[in-house]
């Protein structure tokens, strides 16, 4: 029998879902517990804010002495849309980044709204703020791709919600689960480990692909003429092989016009 250990000892304010790992041998229970503990260590207001933009692991599910899963908050309904599939089935579809960066003709076929460039950049600003906050707490996101960030821009207020947060890594520790490195999003400078610098590279790929509306673009020159110089400059600097020259995500948050989240002080 399984039992659920609620490590942070607080009652959840939103519905929680349980993620059970296919192979518990692939989970590092210590690292997973550290992620749960890190959230608990935050100032209550900051923690409440984190919960609005991430499905952060709340508790570790254990069986005997092994971690086999985690509890995390359910994705808020604002980050999904009802869709009728070609088969006739009604489904709720998560607002993944692919619906922000897709070419307009593919969105039109799906009766999805195409956001103006300014609106798309506002969503990326929210993502930059979220990632910047994690960086300033010594956390590397790892697998930034079309699937791991949800977005919403209802009433012209851009926001994001990060999922699969059990795969982030506290710097200086091993990740709780293997950090996926989606091939089309790989940073050539870091074929193995994932860190702050590879996060910056992948964030810049997200920006480039969202600006150009091309899923697989890697050349920063493709954005020239589409955005102002500060963004073009940051793109080039973030996608360079010279990893030391890559800017901090806080620079991205500033240029994209989003308010910075509280940093560790």
């Amino acid at each position: 029998m399984e039992r659920v250990a609620v490590i942070d000892g607080e009652s959840p304010r939103c519905p929680l879902v349980r993620k059970t790992y296919y192979d518990p041998g692939e989970v590092n229970g210590g690292s997973l517990t550290r992620l749960v503990s890190w959230r608990r260590s935050l100032d209550p207001a900051v923690r409440a804010d984190l919960d609005t933009w991430s499905a952060w692991p709340r508790s570790v599910v254990i069986d005997g002495d092994r971690a086999i899963g985690t509890l995390m908050s359910e994705v808020p309904t604002a980050y999904s849309e009802p869709v009728q599939l070609p088969s006739g089935t009604e489904a709720s579809v998560l607002n993944e980044l692919q619906f922000l960066m897709a070419p307009p003709e593919l969105l039109a076929k799906r009766r999805r709204r195409v956001l103006a460039l300014e609106q798309r950049l506002a969503v990326l600003g929210a993502l930059a703020s979220a990632m910047s906050f994690l960086h300033e707490h010594d956390i590397a996101v790892g697998d930034v791709s079309t699937k791991n960030c949800l977005w919403n821009d209802a009433d012209s207020v851009a926001s994001v919600f990060l999922v699969d947060c059990d795969a982030v890594r506290l710097l200086g520790t091993v990740p709780a689960v293997v950090q996926a490195n989606t091939p089309g999003w790989n940073d050539p400078a870091f074929p193995g480990g994932l860190n702050h610098q590879s996060d910056v590279y992948k964030f810049a790929l997200t920006v480039l692909r969202t600006i150009t509306q091309r899923f697989h673009e890697r050349d920063p020159a493709a954005a020239s003429g589409l955005v102002d110089r500060p963004i073009a400059t940051l793109l080039r600097a973030s996608l360079t092989a010279d990893v030391e020259a890559r800017p901090a995500l806080r620079s991205w948050a500033a240029v994209l016009g989003s308010e910075a989240l509280p940093s560790r002080s």
Partner: protein, 233 residues
């Protein structure tokens, strides 16, 4: 969860412009597929695949799927396309024998023709990934289908596909292992054939979605539910 195992093909031409990842689903449509809801499971799997394309513009952007059916003969029942664009899915009608040679001939010709067309459109073309499934033993001359299979496996053919094979129902496992170049999965329980076909469909969906999201062909590393993995001969 990303569970994929990525492998890099070397067949994508260095041409400016977009790229295409072709997938081929080669389906046994012999008379035995009439049993136990098998054909219905296959038809449902096709519908799920179309939903997956629709749900994922990132897949529509670069993945294309073609369906080939075989029995006495073989034919393309759905030409290579963005499945989200397919208004009507083909109605699959089982009949006749399980002749493998025509299936391999039609597959080779179709892959070659499709690759030439796509390249003429200025697209880079990945080497295809082929999913072959059968629920029975080959009914044609082993020499014939082995010769046709050799031409599919030909290492000198630039468009040679990576092949994943699935054996369900009364399939001969050794034959499926001979066809595969990447993985061979067999379902040991003949009474589970319809469920096994649904599992095949699920694996194809996961592979296509992971490939589209990654920009490279990806095959999930776990067998489909109810299947065992066989060593490839």
């Amino acid at each position: 969860m990303p569970v994929g195992e990525a492998y890099q093909h070397s067949g994508a031409d260095e041409v400016e412009g977009g790229f295409v990842m072709p997938f081929y689903l080669v389906c046994d449509l012999s008379a035995s597929m009439r049993q136990g809801g098998r054909i219905r499971a296959l038809q449902d799997a096709l519908a799920s695949l179309r939903d997956a394309f629709f749900l994922n513009p990132v897949v529509s952007d670069c993945a294309r799927l073609c369906v080939i059916g075989f029995s006495n003969r073989a034919r393309v029942v759905l030409p290579l396309c963005d499945l989200a664009d397919a208004e009507d899915l083909p109605r699959l009608e089982p009949e006749g024998l399980t002749n493998f040679a025509p299936a391999f001939h039609v597959l080779r010709e179709t892959i070659q023709t499709d690759a030439e067309l796509l390249r003429a459109d200025g697209l880079r073309v990945w080497r295809p990934m082929v999913f072959v499934f059968s629920d029975g033993a080959p009914t044609d001359d082993p020499e014939h289908w082995r010769r046709a299979l050799e031409s599919l496996h030909d290492p000198m053919w630039p468009a040679r596909p990576d092949i994943v094979s699935f054996g369900v129902g009364e399939a001969v496992h050794e034959v499926l292992a001979e066809i595969a170049t990447l993985r061979c999965y067999v379902s040991p329980d003949p009474d589970f054939a319809a469920g096994a076909i649904a599992s095949v469909g699920d694996l194809v969906v996961r592979s296509v979605v992971a490939s589209g999201s990654s920009g490279e062909p990806v095959l999930p590393d776990r067998p489909p539910e109810g299947f065992d993995e066989l060593d490839i001969l």
